[in-house]
Symmetry: C2
Subunit: 278 residues, 2 copies
């Protein structure tokens, strides 16, 4: 059955699949200096932000992604004081990071200020912590930021970027990982969204290999549902400067998806992925 103009569809042509959301109306559309931004009101997923035709987030299901980008890495670090988020302009990951009292400073470096301005307007709940004195939003190029960072400055670097095409492409490459490695302390952790465990196994393999070539001791991929991303199943990959811990901090956090048991479950990879990772 064809879908008409009352639906927003994200077609992933190479995946041969598409996800659609029923719309009530378009709230905003603009071309920023970097990308095309659209905001919709959907019938059942709240507000929707679309960048260059791809779903960035909805109000209904972004909690899973943002919690899983922040808490596994921060809890695996014994003392996560200085955090850098590259991308993440919607401020959802920043909000999760700031739930950790150990965090002294959280830098959010997204090249496109318009994403943050639209998030403030249409996703205010994600920006609720932006006035926290520990929050440092900057609108600059993340690759240059990391290249210029003081060595061993950060405890956790979170790459919360769009897909590895266009402006975000360089964020999935070894030279960038090498800069991240240098900018991380000796127990530092890099975490990056790593696409679908069903559709993008080759990409995950390349990322893991590039992280290891860049000098990280170990990499771990974890998986979680993300209903409005292709296949509805997503992953993040952690790269550890030191050996990854067998157990981790378990602070009480106000979360809806993340818990210690969920964290452990997310690290339990299906046999076909374990085999692919070798």
């Amino acid at each position: 059955m064809p879908l008409d103009q009352s639906w927003f569809s994200e077609l992933c042509e190479p995946c041969g699949s598409a996800i659609s959301l029923k719309l009530i109306r378009k709230l905003h559309e603009e071309q920023s200096p970097y990308q095309r931004l659209e905001i919709y009101e959907t019938a059942t997923f709240g507000h929707l932000m679309v960048i260059d035709g791809c779903v960035m987030l909805t109000q209904r299901d972004n909690f899973i992604y943002h919690e899983m980008m922040a808490h596994p890495a921060l809890n695996a670090h014994p003392e996560p004081r200085r955090i850098l988020i590259v991308g993440g302009g919607d401020c959802g990951t920043l909000r999760e990071v700031l739930k950790h009292p150990e965090v002294a400073e959280a830098w959010q470096v997204d090249i496109d200020e318009r994403v943050t301005r639209l998030a403030e307007q249409y996703f205010p709940e994600l920006c609720a912590s932006n006035a926290d004195p520990r929050a440092h939003p900057r609108f600059e190029d993340g690759i240059a930021w990391v290249a210029a960072a003081t060595a061993a400055h950060y405890d956790v670097i979170i790459i919360d970027s769009t897909d590895p095409v266009g402006p975000a492409e360089g964020l999935f490459r070894e030279p960038f990982y090498r800069d991240c490695r240098r900018a991380l302390g000796d127990r530092g952790i890099l975490v990056q969204q790593s696409e679908s465990p069903l559709l993008h196994v080759d990409l995950i393999l390349e990322m893991r290999a590039a992280m290891q070539r860049a000098g990280f001791t170990a990499v771990q991929t974890l998986h979680f549902p993300q209903p409005t991303y292709p296949s509805g199943w997503w992953s993040a990959t952690l790269a550890h400067v030191a050996e990854p811990p067998q157990s981790w901090r378990t602070p009480r956090l106000a979360t809806r998806y993340y818990s210690e048991a969920v964290h452990r479950g997310a690290l339990a990879l299906p046999p076909y992925l374990l085999e692919a990772f070798g």
Copy 2:
């Protein structure tokens, strides 16, 4: 962007979401005595079976669903000898059940023989174990079958049905669960697909309550990705005649998604679901 006729789309109007698969061609279409059946060749998901407009399975991702419908329940039972599958006409769950050497007989009771005939033709890999002498396919009404069953006959009953509308509706109700309870032995386990943990929390709550009213000691919901079902995230709910085990059998099984660690992870529910379940 609207999707044209070269895509199959399953619209879930109440969910406000749709999932689409790029098609190469339609391979078959018929109206059986019970439902409308369609088979397509897709661009990237292999063969696709559609029943009454809903995706039943694709060759690419059905392994997750079928493994999670079979192995958690069978491994949680100390001695799963007699298994009943209600529905499951595509034979994928049957194939997983027969991987367990403890199983002496596996009955598959689906009202629609045409589903099995089409599976034999278009999903032959799922039917590879149909000649196993322990396999007993029957094309009858599952509700009547369970009502007529000898008390305490089965060790595990697997309800592998379509959604709770139309012919499958009675499979989600207390009277049916009561019959299942009676047909199960004193360590028996009922497992049923229970829709999306994001979209159908109310349905899962109703199912869990009806199972408890039907006399089961405990219910457990587990979650897993299922990319071609609405939201890409799915669940199964287990109802236990006795207290559910804290640990379970860990036989070596040739699986692609299921493992003991994945089983444990699937039982780790996000805080928002734990809260809903009370």
